[in-house]
Each structure stands twice: as C-alpha cells, then as structure tokens.
C-alpha cells in the first residue's frame, strides 16, 4: 500500500507541475494596425490584449477585444466598431497556434520563430503563418511580430465610397510582455 501512495504522490506531482512551469501570461498586450490609403492614413492601438504562451508545448493564444482599439478620431472608432468590425456581433478577435523554432526556448535569449495557427477576426477563421521574435528573459518573456491582414479575407466590407480612405491590407504590430503563471 505504501508503494501505491508513493506512486500516486509522484504521479500527482509530476502531472501538475510539469505543464504549468513554462506557461506565461500577458494581460496588457499591445496590438496596433495601420492602414495607408491614397486619401487617409488610419492608425489604432489596443493595450488590453491577453495572451498565454507555453514554451514547452510551444503553443500560443491571444484574445483581442475589438472595442478596445483606440483611434485618434472618435468618428473613426465608431465606424470601425459599427460598420466594419461589427463588434456587437464579433466582440473578440482570437489567435491560437503553435510556435516552431530550431532552438529550445529555454535559455534566456532572443529567438526568431514562426507561428502557425488559426486567426479569427470578424467571425472568420483563417490559417496564418507569421514570423516573430520571442525574447526569453530572466523572469519575463517578450513576444513581438509584424504582419499584414487583408480585409477581404475576413469579410470586412469597405463601401466603394470609401475605398480611397481604407487600405485593402493593414499592417499589424503585436508586442506582448509575459510573466510566469503562478
């Protein structure tokens, strides 16, 4: 019976600690987008991105609250939410994917990685592959990336009257600082 208990204890310890050890969370992540069109440049940023990254399982996930994008002009912000992103119907954009890198992401250092996964914006899910960097520090992990998103891919409709104001493709920048999950 002693052996059973010891066995159980080892199993319990093993199964609970191994998985959470390399899990990091970001609560105030940053994401911005920039649209450059003949008539107008549009920029907005969001500082409430939440994300989890597991450096052992090499998984990463994001949740972006659409209504938290801040624009310079309040009219743009209103149109962004109501006309284009329909944030009342699709309040969040999400991403879930896996990280591939030739290196083990254990030692402190900066790694160039490729992240592949499912990006959901405006209720439409697409498989995307983006390049990024992961900086593993003493206690925190910083992830950043830049990529392009084509509005048409996510069924974000731009009326013909404003095609010269809104770019077909927007430049997205992501930067997140993660801390270990307790």
């Amino acid at each position: 019976m002693k052996q059973v208990i010891i066995g159980l204890a080892i199993l319990l310890l093993g199964s609970t600690t191994v998985f959470s050890q390399h899990k990091y969370r970001a609560d105030k992540g940053f994401v911005s987008f920039f649209s450059s069109a003949p008539l107008e440049d549009i920029y907005a940023e969001n500082k409430t991105v939440i994300s989890l990254v597991d450096l052992v399982k090499r998984e990463i996930a994001f949740v972006v609250t659409i209504a938290d994008f801040q624009f310079e002009k309040s009219l743009m912000q209103e149109h962004f939410n109501e006309k284009y992103m329909e944030s009342h119907k699709y309040p969040k954009a999400t991403f879930e994917g896996t990280i591939s890198s030739p290196d083990e992401l254990k030692e402190p250092g900066t790694y160039t990685v490729t992240v592949t996964g499912e990006l959901t914006i405006h209720g439409v899910t697409k498989t995307v592959e983006v390049e990024g960097t992961i900086m593993v520090g003493e206690s925190e992990v910083v992830a950043s990336s830049e990529f392009k998103v084509k509005l048409e891919d996510y069924k974000v409709k731009v009326p013909r009257l404003v095609v010269r104001n809104i770019a077909e493709e927007v430049q997205v920048k992501v930067r997140l600082t993660y801390y270990p999950v307790q």
Binding site: M1, Q3, V4, G7, L8, L11, L12, S15, T16, F19, R25, E40, T48, I50, S51, L52, V53, D54, E59, I60, A61, F62, V63, T65, I66, A67, D68, E72, K73, S74, L75, M76, E78, H79, N81, E82, K83, S87, H88, P91, K92, T94, E96, P159, L161, V162, N165
Partner: protein, 293 residues
C-alpha cells in the same frame, strides 16, 4: 505484488487522463480570463442633425464640423420649375466646434427672409453606452439674430430669438433609433399681435439603418396649440423625411420637408411652413464634413 502493480498502472492511466482533461487548450483557458467587452458610447444617429433638428450626436473635442444645407423651391411648382430645383429657397451655412467631448459651440447663417444669424451650444448630459446607460440626454440652446434691414429702425432686442431644446434619444438596436425633443422657442418680434412670441413644441424623430452607411430618417415637429385657433394649423407642423449617406468623414443628407426655414426658431413658427399633405414640400440636402483639428 502483481495486483499492486496493476493498481498503480490503473491509477496512473486514470490520473493522466484526468490531468489531460484539466489541461484545456490555451484559448479556452484565456477565454475564462477575458473580460466582457468594454463600454462604448453609442451614437444613435449618423450626424448632428436628424433632418432639420439637432440630434444627441455630440462633436468630440477639437472636432470642427462644417455644414451647408440647401432648400429648393416648392416641388408642387411642377416640371416648369424642375420641381423646385430652379430656385434656391434657403441656404444655411454652419460651423460647429467641439470644445470638449461634452460641449460644442456653433454659428450658422441662413439666407431666409430674416437673414438669421444663429449662435448656439450643445451640451451632452448623458451618453448612451453599450450596456450601462440606456439613453442619451443633451441640451441644445441658442440665440439667433435677425440681421436683415428693417424699413424703420427697431431696437436690437427685437431682432433676437431664443431656443432651448432637450434632446432625449435611444438607439434600440443596430438599426433603429428614436429621439424625443421638447423645445421652447421665443421670438421677440412676430408678424402680428395675434402671433405668439413663445412657442412650445415636441419633435419626434426616428432613424432606421438601411445599410451600415445609410439611414432613413423621419421627423415630426408637433407645435403645442397654445395660441389662437384661427392661426394654428396642425397641417403646418414640420414634417420631414430624409436619407443619410455616411462616407467616413462626410455625411450627405437628402430630404423633403414642408418647412421653409432650417433652424428650430424658424420651423417651430408654424406660419413659415406649408401644409405637407397639400404637396407643398421642398427638396433639400445637407453636406456635413468633420475635421479633426
């Protein structure tokens, strides 16, 4: 001994399965942390004007809005006058500026008979939000000055008109909004002694989104019959139907109305209006452009 090993084996399988089940994928785990969507201000209408009357839409701080409204002649004049398009009845040019997100001030000038120069402020008292606040409440008020030449010299005070409006709106869903506007207008000079100086009215406005960029709007201004029956004509209460087309920073409004004046002090004074259902209506349009300074 064999029995014990078997037991350990079984336990380990059970435990691994259990711990795997607990180990949800990252996105599900995040979703449990995700807060509800943050509060946003909801604007009930496309622009600061429903058709002729003001809406609860508030200019943001440092936003400058330029508006020009045109009103053409009577549509009942027929094809000879191209349904009124041959004449320009009234042109109203306005500039409004958001001093803060809650207060804007504006100036406008109408080419009507009195050459009315309008000054006004709009104060947002409550703003509807996505969940916490279910309606918007604003105050709009102003002093208008009739700048036309009088045949005989009149004291300046007689040129003034005052407007006080309370705007109460609600966006019911993503297509339908409505507004109730109780208003009081005081005209220091009226055509005859039978005409009232003080006019009370309640305007009802509705807006229905046909597409994300276009809305169909209607506005009815009920003037309370507080004055002489012979003078009061219910058919002359302002009735306007319009379409808003929003293209980013611009809003284009096309409308028909039985009013001949474009400011509340003008269209609340019933004697300026025609009878809508006699077909004596005017086609008009407004163009609004916002600049962020």
């Amino acid at each position: 001994m064999k029995y014990r090993l078997l037991l350990i084996g079984m336990f380990s399988i059970v435990l691994t399965v259990a711990s795997n089940a607990q180990e949800k994928n990252l996105l599900d785990e995040l979703s449990t942390h995700a807060k509800a969507s943050s509060e946003q201000y909801v604007s009930a209408f496309k622009s600061t004007r429903l058709v002729l009357g003001p809406t609860t839409v508030q200019l943001s701080a440092k936003e400058l809005q330029f508006r020009v409204s045109h009103l053409f002649g009577l549509m009942s004049d027929g094809i000879q006058e191209l349904f009124g398009l041959d004449q320009i009845y009234n042109v109203d040019i306005a500039l409004d500026y958001g001093l803060t997100n809650w207060l804007s001030a504006g100036i406008a000038r109408s080419s009507d008979y009195d050459k009315t120069l309008q000054t006004g402020v709009q104060l947002a008292i409550l703003k509807q939000t996505t969940s916490a606040q279910w309606f918007s409440l604003s105050y709009a008020g102003g002093v208008n000055i009739r700048t036309r030449k009088y045949e005989i010299e009149r004291p300046f005070i007689e040129r003034l008109e005052y407007e006080h409006l309370v705007l109460l709106s609600r966006k019911f869903n993503h297509q339908f909004s409505a507004q109730v506007t109780p208003g009081w207008v005081n005209l220091n000079r009226v055509p005859t002694t039978a005409h009232p100086h003080s006019l009370w009215y309640t305007a009802l406005g509705v807006s229905y989104a046909l597409t994300p960029s276009t809305t169909l709007n209607g506005e009815y201004t009920y003037v309370w019959p507080t004055f002489n029956d012979g003078l009061y004509d219910g058919g002359k209460n302002g009735l306007s139907v319009g379409v808003d087309i929003e293209t980013g920073g611009h809003v284009f409004q096309l409308f028909v109305t039985n009013a001949t004046r474009l400011q509340p002090s003008g269209f609340a004074a019933q004697w300026n209006n025609n009878v809508f259902f006699d077909g004596d209506i005017h086609f008009g349009f407004s163009i609004m452009r916002s600049f962020s300074l």
